[in-house]
Every structure is written in C-alpha cells, then in structure tokens.
Symmetry: D2
Subunit: 336 residues, 4 copies
C-alpha cells in the first residue's frame, strides 16, 4: 500500500510518498481501506511546523479526515462488519460526554498518525457510519470541520430555530455552519471578500451577506442586518484578528464559538463583560456528536460543499490549493 | 361592541352574545380590536364545566387565542403603537424564565376573561407582535397550541436537528409539532385514525405515519419505524389513555411531553424508570417563548394549518366542529 | 478463592458458597481482591427472581457494589497500578455522557456476574478510585445507591444551594440523598415510619421530618413545611405506591426522580401536567458521575451511613436484614 | 430627608449632602426607609467618571446596594406590606429569565438614581425580602456583589459539589464566591497579596491559598494545588490584567466568569480555544437569582463578610476606604 509521511515538517515538499505492507487489525481493531480524505487549515499548519496543540509530528502520516470501507476485522470486534462505509473520528478516544485531557492525545494526523494512507487500522471505537446519502468524498469532509460546527451550535446551548447565526468566510467550517444552521431553522449571515462567493452562499440559504473587503467595518453591517440587536451566535473561525468585531456583532447574552486560528494578535476582553457574552473554545468533538450530526445530515439531505477533488498523487497540490484561500467549502483527495 | 359570555357553564347553548361599551385602556394598557380567535380543547372543556386547573368561569368571556390590531394606548405604554398587529399571550403575566404559581392565575378565557370580544384591553406586557408573514386568522392559532409545542420541544432540553419526534393525532398541537419540528431539522412520525389525514401530514413533512385504528398497537409500529430504538421526543396530547404506549415508543433516555387531557385513567409509571425517560408536564409557556417561536415561524415561512374558519356569529358551530374531532389543525373564528 | 453463586433463583437459600481458582487479567483488565460489598433492594429482587430489567441470572455471582484492592494487571493497563483502592462501577461500560442501550447489558450482579467473590477481574474502565477518606466498607456502599442519587440531583438539572429536597424513607438511597443534598447546601425533608430514625436523620442534617405512619397524608405535611409551595426535588424511591403523593408534594415546575420499585400499582399522571412537573427515571449512572461524586464526598468529608456490617460467611443474614426493612442506610458485607 | 448627589463627577469631593421632601409612592410603588447601603468598585468608578456601561450620572444619587424597611405603599401593591425588610435589586427591571437590553437601563446608582438617600420610592418589582438571618447592614452587601457571584456560579452551568473554584483577591465579590461555593460543597482556592487575609480566608473555608505578591506566577501555584489539572471555575474580578493567568489556571473545558474591570489591557484569546474553555461575561443578575441566593444564604446560615461600617455622614470616607483596596469583604454605610 502507498501512504504519505512528513519525515520532517516546515516545508510542503517534505511530504513523501512511501510504500509499506498492509497492517493487520489486532483485538477490537478494524482495517479500513481509505477512499477519500479532506484537508483542514490545521493540516497545513502542521505541515509548516506552525501548529501548537501538543503536536510533535515526527515522521507523521498527516490528515485527520478520512472515509472508506471496512475490509478486515480483528478479534472481538462488535461494532462493525466488512463492507461498512465509515469515516474516521478526529479524536480516536472521545466517545461521548465531555472531553478528558487524555482524549486530546488521540487526534489523528497530529498527535498520532492520520489517514493519508491507502489502508489504516483503527480502534473499533474510532469510526462512525457514513450517512447513506453521502459519497466517500462527501463523507471525508466531516470529521473535523463539520463536527466542530456541531459541537459549537448543537451541544452546550443548542441553537434554536429562528435564531441568527453569523459565520465568517466561506471555508469548510463556515459552509457547514451555514448548512447545519439552516437545516435547524436558523437565519444565517455570512461574510466574505468575494461577492461571487457571497452569491453562492445565498443560494445555499444565507439570508444576509457582507463583503468585508468593501465593508471593513463588517460588524456594523451585521448590526444593521439585525436591527441593531446583534446575532445570537458567531462561528468565529478568524481568531484574534476578527474576534473583536465578532464581539461587536453579537447580541447581549450571545455566544461566540472560538474555532479558528487563522490570525494572531491580542484583543480587549472587556466587551465580553459589556455584552454578557459567552466565548467558548471549540476543539472538534466526540464520536457521539459526529453520530448525532450524521443523523441531521441524513434527515435533511445535506450535501457537503466540496470545492475541488484532487487525486491521491496530487496531494501536494491539494495542500497548496487550501493554502491559497481561494476555495469555498472543502478540499478533498480521492484515493484510488 | 359585541362579545360572548358564559353566564354559566355546562352547555354550549349557554354562550350568550352581548353588547357592551368599548373599554378604555388605563396606565400601561392598550386597547386591541380583535380580528380573529382560535379554539382549543381547553375552551370546550371550560364550556362544558369539565376543566380543572383552578378555573371558575363566572360569566366568563371565553377563549385564550386572539389576534388583532392595537387601536388605543393608555398612559405610559412603551411597547406598542396604534396599528401594531398583535396576538394575545395565553398567560397575561409570564414574561420569561420559569413560571411562578401566580402566573397561572392570569390565563385568558379561564382564570380571567378571554378574547371572544370585538375589543379588549390588555396589559402592555400581555401581547406579542404577529409574525409579518401571518394573517390575523393565522396569528390567532398560536397563543396556546403553538406556544405549548415550543415550550415542549425548544426550551429545557431543545430538540436537535436529526432527532425523531412522535406526535399523536392531527389536532392543532400536533400540526404545530409537525411543522416546528420539521423546521428545526427533525424527523417527524405521526399517528391518526384517518389515512387521508396521514397523507396530508406526509405532504406537510411527516416521514412516517401510523393509523392507530388499523394498528391499535401503534407503539410497535413506531418502534419498527425507528429500527427498534424508539423516538427521541413524544408530544403526548392524548393523556393517560395513550401515555403507556408513548412510553413504549420512546427511546432509552427519551422525552415525553405531557400536554393533553383528552382521555382519563391511570398508568403504570414503571416504564419511566426502565426507559430512563423524562416525562414533563407542559402548560403553555411564556411571552419570551412566544416571541422566540414567532422568529422561527418568520425565518422558516411556516403557515399554520387551519382546518376551517367560522364567522363571529357562527361561534357555537365552531365549538361543535372542534368537539367533533373531525378537524385537522386549528379551528378559527373570524371577527368582523 | 471463595465466591457465592445462585445456581437458580427464587429462594435465598439457593445462594451457594463455592471454591474456584483466581482468574488472570487479560489485556486491559485488572484483578481486584474484593474487601467489602454492599446490598441493594435490587439484589434481593434478583435473588427472589422478581427483578425485570433484562436480567437472566443463570448461575449468577450476585451484587453490584464492591470495593477492594488492585492486585494484578493485564497487559496494556494504563489507568491502574497494584495497590490502588477501588470500587466497581455498576455498569461496566458507561464511561460518561448519556447511557446507550448496550451499556445496560453490563450491569454487575445482574446482566453479568457481580462482586460476591474474593477476587474478580474487571475491565480497567469498570473501576473508580475510592475516596481517600473512606474505608473499604464505606466505599462499597457507593456504586449503586449513591451514584443513583448523584445522577438524579446533580446532572441534567443540578440541585442549587438553598433548594429543598424531599427523600422518602431511610434506606441507602435516601441517606445518600440527605448527605449529598446537605453537602450541596440544600434543605432536606425526610419521611419514615420511625420517629427514632427521623431523629437520627435530623442529626445528619434533615431540617424537616414526617412520620408517614402517624401522618398517612404525609404530602400535606410536606406542603406545610414549605409554606404550601412544595419541594423542588423528590428522590422517589417508593415507586407507584408513593408517587401520587410525591406529585402532590412537589412545587410547580419541580422535579421527581423515579428510582425505586418498592411498591407496584398505577397512578393518575394528570398532576404531572397540572404541576408542570418533570418526572425522570434514573437507573444508576456513569463512571464520570461516580468520580464527580467521589470528589464531592472527599471535599465535604461525607461518611456513608452504614447500618450493619456482616461477615462474608453471614451473607444470607445480610440479605435477610435488608429484606426486613429495619435498617437505616446501607447493609455491608466485609470480606476476609 | 437627607440624600447625597453627584452634581458632577470626577472627584469624590463633588458628592454633596442635600435635603429634600420624602417622596410619595405612586401606583404599584412602595416607599422604603433605607437603613444601610454598601459600596462596590463600580460606585467608585462612577464617582471618578470612569465607568462606561452607558452611564451618564447627571446629578446622580449614587449606590446600587441598599437595605431597609417598607414604610408606605402606593395603590395596587400586592407584593409588600409595611414593615417588610427589603433589599434593592441592582436592575429595577430584570425579574427572571435572560436579560433584555432594556433591563440594563434600570441599574440603580448609574442608569437611574440609587440608594444613598434616607427614603426612596421603588417599583414593587424592584425589591426582594431580606433573609431573616441578616441585619440591614448585612443585607445591604448583597445586591451587586453577591448576585453577581450567584449568576456566575449557579445559573447557566451550575457549580457541582466537589468541584474547585478559584477566586481572585479578597474583595466583596471574592468573599461571596468563597462563602457561596463552600455552602454548595465546592473546594475553594483564593489569591491575595496579604498572608493575613489569606489566613482569614482559610478560616472562612478556603482550602488553598496563593500570595500573588510572593508568587507572581500564581497560575502555576494553582495548577500545583490541583495536581496539574486546573480549576473548574474562576471568578475573575481582575479583568484583562489577570485573565491570561486565569486561563492558564482553568482546567480543560473549564469556566471563567469575567466580572471585574480592575485592570485594563489586551489578552491573547488563543488559550480559550486550546483549553476548550468558556469565558462568560457577568453583569449582576435578575431578581429571581437574588431570591434563589437568599434562600441559599438562609438555609446555610451565611453571614456576609463586612470589613467596616461607616456612618451616613462618613460616606466619603467609606468611598476612600474602598479605593484604598485594604479591605476584605464589603464596605458598608449605616443610615440613621
């Protein structure tokens, strides 16, 4: 079988295609033939050696998001049979409930080897069923970006139908925020630097859009779109560089989900107090969240937004495409 | 102005049309010209003298659910201006948060006079804005049935997209359960004794139906429709006569909202324990719930299901139509 | 090693002392030398063949509640070292979050063999650390009764300091309800048929007591003790025979935790609606709940109430003592 | 009657003693003879003209926290009778549930006139009963500092017995955090620059203390006191200057309540993400929270920590004493 590793990081060209024997599943493990994977900004940051979060990717197989087929079972497996269509869970050991510190040491493609490999053995608890309405390419978009959105919007203080969600930009997380929030009956506002992308976001259900290039004070536009009241929820993927405006744009008592680290810098935290706001850090989610989200995807016939599909051999191009920021939705790699 | 009163109760024919002067709004009160009202089973039970809940309807103006237009303001009113389109809140004094015992003494058309009158003075806190997309007839369907559903499904433990809701029958409460749960991305199962009504429920978004006449053990059918797992939520309008089967049909850890009192009798409560279920009694809801629901109605373009509209003069016929049980959705009275 | 089994059930005399070799821990398993166990009503019901909940105790080793010492480790164990003082979790496979149906098939001393054995192999996930301030006898009281109380009062809608809790009788569950609710700053009311037990309950922190023998309408006494308002929470161990009065005694919007099955019969569910009450069925809890509770026990120096300690050889006497209902708190068996 | 006003602000010496007639309560209002008041940092900031939060204190009667006796009733009052012992609610119009923006315009001693007056008319909804176990001086400590702590620790995600709370310094808010968290069965850690104050905090129930003068990296000390895990909750009164260390000291998935504005500056928000932490801004709370807290105070016999009581005439000295930061607990003014 073929797989990619980073013998060292700091440069995308370090990514090396290798050959290796297909592993055997041990007790309570299953062997999965991977058919597709998707990329997240985290993957690029890891490749560049810029990712914190306790990652030391010595000779790492990258990528957290994979989908494929169960092809062999180790002894004692009860959850799977061969032929099952599955996706990997970002954390291999966060089944349900709240995260425990040890769970974070099981993040695929970072703390442990990931899915950029034609075959991989998983603990039987580290997989979920693919929604029946999704292809492998679509299923591979879910483990990190979509579960993160689900954790933000549907767990501690679930979104209610009729509330307003603001999501920033048109990357993978934001597209899932748009689709899942719409499926749950919310109104969605979205920002982008591209009028064309905003137009497509409208077709996907966004009811208000702001071009942050032509309106650098986009927070004021969001307030206008909410009669001065502010939005109920912000899916904040921008990081410190946008958080201050997100705090301006949220309503009194509203919720800001801190997800992304695209930008650095410091912020003045006093608006959190003045707005009685809740700022919650989100780091993907549990297998149970993934399964609940898959049910929402099936019931509502959601099709993930895929920007472009690359072949296994074009993997480096896929990374570069993601890094360009020109995409809308997810960047996917199709395996042979 | 004209209005109806029950000088005594026990017989629908006691309902008496009267003439009376239009009242003046006092401090912080508004005068509303009512344009439509809707009926609930509670109204029929009150008319028949069979309603408990602390009601002593001496010379009562009945009905809790009204919609109309603000036509005059008392001193100090800040929430309204003339011309505003409004609906009455079931409780005149439950603004937000949890109900206090004293709130229950402000239920329209029961504890205090209701809306079956061409004009009525309301405390300025006892009204909500009508959703812009609804007519007076549609708006008049909301205060009791729809708010009850909202309180059940969207407050203490909000429904999540992808979950499954079971609702019993096709009365006003059940139709709102169907529409609001669908808007929030849930899967909805529904029962009825009429295949024709079930067919219409499917058109409204139900994904599974059971005719409880041809399948008296409808709980088993519901289990089949959920692969033996049971539903996440039951909107239980039937009362003791159906609750036992509802407990069979709910999943382990699921939720049953006890709303209706259509039937009497005792139940064996042990399945509540065996299922780890939560059974919650719901008695309409607060003004804040009403407002949150109206936002969901607007954002998702929900049109309430109206079975039939009667004229003010046909009010007794409207009561009889409701009592017949042949309706699907709400029975409405249009005022001149 | 010695252990007890029920070759068949229906009679306590069927309980048979046996000899068997000490088992070896397999992968991710640990061997525990048990030092104490405690009894619950469930154990007596199982012995009598009267327990439902999917139990078929063919040749069963009974009892769910054990405490002891880790004496050997299988390969790959990371959570334990030899010498650790541990208690068993009631469910061997409910780590955290909500229960899944499959978890219920791992209940000790029912679905699977229990702890009435000098040595037992456990999955490394089926144990918790004993609080440092507790002896083995005290620790053995926790797995079923105390965790049940914790799940009821401190999870979905946690008890708040200053609220009022009613608990029925003075068995193991009720004594933990009294102690844990007091530690959390609540006011506790309690019922019993014995003035002597009520006096001891006061010494343990109860601030109001009702003898239900001299006051068969004990619900009215509870209302008096709460100025007519009713209690916030009822730890309902009586079952159908007391639930109706518990619903009278709870406040509008209050919570009744259905735990016990001491009595049978049907109830009229309408008060659940009239009171806007929440009735929640509780079936023990997760390992995470057990650990959170142990922290509360340590921080607050709680000492479980032990009625009497029997020797391993006196096990049948311990069962009979529990069945007599004369105890207050827990009945414990000390192992050699 | 006598009262104090700030004809202008920016200097404490502007505070002016005046004489004025006793006002009459209008409809649904009550007249209260105030017997004590307490000071908060907010009051000093308002006096210095440094308080944001929408305050324009033209000729303001300052102070939000008062306690006294009902001496006269306007027409239609149902909640009070003369002789009732009461405290003011910080917001005159936040009865229960979540705050609405308009509620913030009713903050005493800021948005509207406060309680530094011998008599004051209140809306009947703007008062709570004093706990029976508290004097007027003790009762006057509650409206701002104690309710803030209650809102932080006991509402959205209530503190559970056995959890660990960190509170910063020994001001009024921190002393209530210590006492209320202990009453609820939590473990409390506390910081101060004074070993003597830390010693007194231990006597009040703190189980761990850190002198931040001798240990400027106090966050590391807190981690040591929690075996490296971090605390569950931080009552963060320091503001930006301490928030970064508070984020270091909180556990993964923990809660930081942003209350105080003692210091300014910016912070790096990324640890919120890395810790999966929730940072929630708290701005006092509702009347219902005040009432729930009073129940906790009564049931657990909590006596507020009063640093020093000044006479009405010594009011400026009281302000200066607060500004000195040398106090521990609350600074109170006793009225004649």
């Amino acid at each position: 079988m073929r797989l990619f590793r980073f013998p060292k990081t700091g440069n995308l060209d370090d990514l090396t295609l290798m050959e290796q024997g297909i592993p055997k599943p041990a007790e309570r493990q299953v062997l999965v033939r991977l058919r597709a994977a998707s990329l997240n900004y985290r993957d690029h940051a890891i490749a560049m050696g810029r990712y914190g979060m306790g990652v030391s990717p010595e000779n790492l197989i990258p990528l957290s998001d994979g989908a494929g087929e169960v092809v062999d079972l180790g002894p004692g497996v009860t959850r799977w049979k061969t032929g099952d269509r599955v996706a990997s869970t970002f954390f291999q050991a966060w089944p349900r409930g709240e995260a425990q510190p040890a769970d974070f040491a099981t993040a695929l493609g970072g703390a442990i080897d990931g899915v950029l490999t034609e075959y991989r053995v998983f603990d039987e608890n580290g997989l979920v069923h693919l929604p029946a309405n999704l292809s492998f390419e679509e299923g591979a978009t879910l483990p990190c970006a979509a579960v993160t959105v689900w954790n933000a919007l549907f767990t501690q203080r679930p979104l209610r139908a009729g509330e307003t969600v603001l999501t920033l930009g048109t990357g993978g997380v934001s597209m899932f925020a748009l689709q899942l929030a719409r499926a749950a009956g919310a109104r969605v506002l979205i920002t982008s630097s591209s009028d064309e992308k905003l137009e497509r976001a409208k077709q996907l259900g966004a009811s208000g859009t702001v071009n942050y290039k032509t309106h650098p004070e986009w927070d004021k536009e969001i307030l206008k779109l909410t009669d001065g009241r502010g939005v109920d929820h912000v899916v904040e993927v921008g990081g410190p560089g946008t958080l201050q405006r997100s705090l301006n744009a949220v309503r009194i008592g509203g919720f800001v989900y801190l997800i992304g680290v695209l930008t650095g810098g410091d912020i003045n935290p006093l608006p959190i107090l003045g707005k009685n706001a809740t700022v919650r850090g989100i780091y993907v989610g549990s297998r149970e969240m993934f399964e609940a989200m898959n049910s929402a995807i099936s019931v509502n016939g959601i099709q993930p937004v895929i920007d472009r599909v690359f072949s296994f051999e074009e993997t480096k191009d896929a990374y570069r495409h993601l890094a360009s920021g020109s995409h809308m939705g997810k960047v996917v790699i199709r395996f042979p």
